[in-house]
């Protein structure tokens, strides 16, 4: 089953030709209408006419998350603000958020992309899909919601939390598919067990579209064996709209629709292009995006690309499961956290000495982030109550900026490691 057979099965050479044409017109447009991109191209001494083939994309400047931050909120928009129909917001690197705007067409491209993805895993008319991603500023909930409605599925917009109620609804409404983070699905499995529910026997759940955080094939095996569902990897970031692309039923790489985006893999150190099969940093150019076009956006996820046709007959390039980051971004329970945000928050608290460590664990199915801070002479009190108050203050400050619950551990001075040169302040003990 295909959603858009013409595009999805388009011969590779034709698809590349289409990409070249789209890229050329995108660059022409941006050179004329985007001050930001015009200036960038001038700095690199590139003109639209220098794009004479698809491989000339490497002449174009990269974009980074810092560009979105520096141009917050809407300075990078290339559409008039009144044509923007929606905003989504994600966390930035230093406490300042990243804002993404969408025109009606942007929502349409996003929805179409997800309609193809959901169809490719066999979700469509007749399915009841529970969307257990966060709705709201996060892109996951609404993105999948629109995609699922488009393919004719019945949507249960469950959001996150109230797990017991979600399980009851799953049973009562004969839910057949779910979209959420892999760790939340594992958590649901645990809660179901505690409630005496056997997901295999007591529910109709057969498919799970999982993403928004790194996971592994081992987790897939575990989820499939434990819960009796087929689990598929879905990929995206808010900068490219949100969750956009997924595996098909072959589970052999994530299809990145060629008419929608161009994928490149680069060496994170040198920025040089790498060939198919070589692991490096993912760079994406979104060909269909109006409010906030992204050209050569450095997502900083590490993967490799497969260019050959998939066994399912689809011809778009596929990327392998994300295998880490080239920067220090952490994904905690689906939320992006940069160590710099933690530092930024702590630096604004006069009580802090500036020494800290971040420790990430996975307890059961849930990520647990602990920030260890050293207690200074001025903040130390002989009264336990005072110390507990300090601990609570730090964790509520962190929660305010990072939007996730964090454990704080007070440490005696000098007990945290000191670094010469680049500090390694993160210990990630999660085994995926």
């Amino acid at each position: 089953m295909y959603w858009n057979e013409t595009i999805e099965k388009m011969p590779i050479s034709e698809l590349k030709d289409l990409q070249y044409k789209s890229l050329k017109s995108l660059v022409n447009n941006l050179y004329s209408f985007s001050t930001f991109y015009h200036d960038r191209m001038k700095e690199m001494n590139v003109r639209p006419n220098d794009i004479q083939s698809l491989s000339d994309i490497t002449k174009l400047p990269f974009m980074n998350k810092s560009d979105l931050r520096d141009n917050y909120p809407t300075k990078m928009f290339t559409s008039p603000k009144k044509s923007v129909v929606r905003y989504h917001v994600s966390s930035g690197t230093t406490g300042k958020p990243t804002l993404v705007g969408y025109t009606a067409n942007d929502i349409e491209f996003w929805t179409e992309s997800l309609a193809r993805s959901l169809t490719s895993v066999g979700i469509g008319d007749g399915d009841v899909i529970q969307i257990s991603y966060g709705y709201g500023l996060f892109t996951g909930g609404l993105g999948l919601h629109y995609g699922a409605e488009r393919v004719g599925a019945t949507v249960l917009p469950a959001g996150t939390g109230s797990t017991e109620r979600q399980l009851e609804l799953m049973i009562d409404l004969d839910v057949t598919a779910i979209a959420c983070t892999p760790s939340y699905l594992m958590h649901m499995g645990d809660v179901a067990k505690a409630m005496g529910i056997d997901i295999r026997k007591d529910t109709q759940l057969r498919k799970a579209v999982l993403g928004a955080e790194p996971w592994s094939d081992n987790m897939r095996k575990y989820i499939e064996n434990e819960l009796g569902v087929q689990a598929y990897d879905i990929y995206g970031t808010s900068e490219i709209s949100g969750p956009m692309f997924s595996e098909c039923s072959e589970k052999d790489g994530i299809h990145v629709w060629g008419d929608t985006a161009i994928v490149e893999i680069i060496d994170p150190e040198t920025g040089e292009s790498l060939g198919p099969g070589e692991k490096g940093e993912l760079v994406m150019t979104v060909l269909k995006k109006e409010a906030m076009p992204m050209i050569r956006y450095r997502i900083k996820d590490l993967t490799s690309v497969m260019e050959e046709e998939c066994a399912c007959g689809r011809t778009s390039p596929r990327i392998r499961r994300i295998d880490g980051r080239s920067d220090d971004m952490l994904i905690i329970r689906g939320i992006n956290v940069f160590p710099s945000q933690v530092e930024h928050t702590l630096m604004h608290m006069p009580e802090m000495t500036g020494q800290y460590m971040i420790v990430v664990d996975r307890v059961g199915a849930l990520d647990l982030m602990t920030v260890q801070v050293e207690v200074g002479q001025e903040t130390f009190s002989d009264k336990i109550d005072d110390m507990l108050r300090l601990k609570k203050k730090i964790s509520s400050e962190l929660k305010k900026y990072l939007n996730i619950g964090i454990d704080v551990e007070l440490m005696s001075p000098g007990s945290l490691p000191r670094f010469e040169g680049k500090a390694k302040r993160v210990i990630d003990r999660r085994k995926l």
Binding site: Q377, S381, K383, I384, M387, L410, P413
Partner: protein, 142 residues
């Protein structure tokens, strides 16, 4: 007037990890600190070590030099008799005077015992105890 009754206590922050107490104890030894009484309070993930020592100012300075976070706090000491009901006598006095104790601990030497306790406004509490005719210990009495 009441200040001569203030007893200086040292408090040291400790991580809740094996070996941390030994580390503090080693530092106390290296600084030649003799303790008369101590206690350890623990909470989730950390603890506070509190001690009454021979020369608190010197001990405090020596420990600080070693990079240990140490704090001087004033506590009050009341003598107790080492027999059943000894604590009750003291507790009644403190209770009747409507004094709120933050924390406290005891020290015993043969028949004599002392109760050390921390209150929010030590000088005011000492005044009240003295006014009520209660014996309050001075540093040299311990």
């Amino acid at each position: 007037m009441s200040s001569e009754y203030l007893i200086k206590q040292l408090s040291v922050f400790i991580n809740n990890e094996p070996g941390r107490l030994a580390q503090i104890a080693a530092a106390l030894k290296e600084c030649n600190v003799n303790m008369k009484a101590f206690n350890i309070a623990e909470s989730s993930g950390f603890g506070v070590f509190r001690a009454i020592v021979d020369d608190p100012d010197k001990a405090c300075a020596e420990l600080s030099k070693k990079g240990i976070v140490v704090k001087e706090t004033n506590v009050i000491a009341i003598p107790m008799v080492n027999r059943p009901g000894g604590l009750l006598d003291v507790a009644k006095i403190i209770g009747d005077a409507k004094i709120n104790v933050e924390y406290g601990y005891a020290y015993m030497n043969n028949d004599e015992a002392s109760f050390f306790f921390r209150v929010d406004d030590a000088p005011a509490v000492i005044e009240r105890l003295l006014a009520a005719g209660i014996k309050v210990l001075k540093e040299k009495d311990i």
